[in-house]
Amino acid sequence: MSTLTVSVVTPDGPVLEDAFEMVSCKAESGELGILPGHIPMVAPLTISAVRLKGEGKSDRIAVSGGFLEVRPDKVTILAQSAEKPADIDIDRARMAKERAERRLQDKQADIDFQRAEMALKRALNRLNVYENNF
């Protein structure tokens, strides 16, 4: 079966570069599944998990935003942060989740709700990827 090269790049360096058979991810307009031979495309990603399937292996990556560039034989994901399950700092994610929840519950006007919500989303996404429940 043909494969596509997937590379995940962040400002702090490349996270992953390997050959896979399928990439499925969540773009802003909905779920996307990409197989080899896809037409060139660019799409923004949501804070979500990217799932990669290859010959007898599968991988998942927690991305926070960024976008996806598709070429027939290559997929590049550019994100401000991207982590494999093994690289996720689970304690930090839990703490971030609690902090964000606390902030959202405090009905004070002087906090930035949007920012807290984004932080909560990122934390939940990391926890989900770490625990592998979708």
Binding site: D12, P14, I39, V42, A43, P44, G65, S81
Partner: protein, 287 residues
């Protein structure tokens, strides 16, 4: 002439200073190494994002975004990257001098510009001169992560989006080599000269859902990545500048120790000669 003890004291203290500068030189050398690696790791990301941005900007005729269009300039933002600590030679002073001159020559009142500073030295410099510092961040680690800078970068880009500034310049030291750093001025926003920069990829893309929304996500991220790139560059320059400064301090200490040792020996010799003369003189008086 200074007494023997004075000279000896100065030699010891210079030796101690030399030990410190030598240690700082070596610390900076290893930090420079790491900073260079960090800058290298960032290259794939910046190249890729530039490629995609350029291909969208070139390919799509109808793609428009406030960040791509120049508007009348009422207020200019200056993002100045300095270090938190001194002892780095001309690293901070050359950049601050340049920014200060630019502002003095371009603007007549403080309403026409605002400053965003990264690093303590820059912040203190502009505060002391009563210039408007809109945002500042200090205590960035020597090996910065993107997350360290994310907030100030996106807030700065937000200033532009909210039309509180109409253009944004960034000033930083560009790392050329371990002994040369160049003060660099770069216009970040609006992104008007995209077409010249970088090569666009050959393939034309399909946009999901459409170009406008892609640009909405892509351009702020691109601008932030430019800021982060400048910071990494500046960090490498800082360590290089400090290393060079400390190296010349160590060399100077060596020279100073040499001179002092010479005058110490001379003074010692003079003292001995004088003693002998006194003894001989005393003996001659007894005869």
């Amino acid at each position: 002439m200074a007494s023997l003890r004075d000279i000896k004291g100065r030699i010891t203290s210079t030796k101690k200073t030399k030990q410190i500068t030598k240690a700082m030189e070596m610390v900076s050398a290893s930090k420079l190494n790491r900073a260079e690696q960090n800058a290298k790791k960032f290259v794939p990301y910046s190249e890729k994002i530039q490629e995609v941005v350029a291909s969208i900007a070139q390919g799509g005729g109808d793609a428009s975004h406030p960040m791509l269009e120049a508007r009348d300039v009422k207020k200019t933002g200056y993002l100045v990257i300095t270090s938190d600590r001194g002892l780095a030679g001309a690293f901070n002073s050359s950049i601050l001098r340049k920014v200060y001159q630019q502002i003095r020559s371009k603007h007549t009142s403080a309403d026409e510009y605002t400053l965003i500073t990264i690093g303590r030295i820059g912040r203190d410099f502009f505060r002391k001169r009563n210039m408007p510092v809109d945002m500042d961040i200090t205590g960035i680690s020597d090996q910065p992560d993107f997350s360290d800078i994310k907030d100030i970068a996106s807030d700065t880009v937000q200033l532009y989006t909210d039309e509180r500034i109409d253009q944004l310049y960034i000033y930083y030291n560009h790392y050329v080599s371990a002994i040369t750093q160049e003060v660099t001025e770069k216009k970040i926003l609006p992104l008007t000269d995209l077409n010249k920069e970088g090569k666009a990829s050959q393939s034309s893309y399909e946009y999901e859902p459409n170009q406008e929304e892609i640009l909405e996500v892509l351009l702020p991220q691109y601008a932030e990545s430019l800021i982060y790139g400048a910071l990494l560059d500046s960090k490498a320059s800082e360590h290089a500048a400090r290393m060079t400064a400390m190296k010349s301090a160590t060399d100077n200490a060596d020279d100073l120790i040499g001179d002092l040792t010479l005058s110490y020996n001379r003074a010692r010799q003079a003292a001995i000669t004088q003693e002998i003369t006194e003894i001989v003189g005393g003996a001659a008086a007894l005869e």
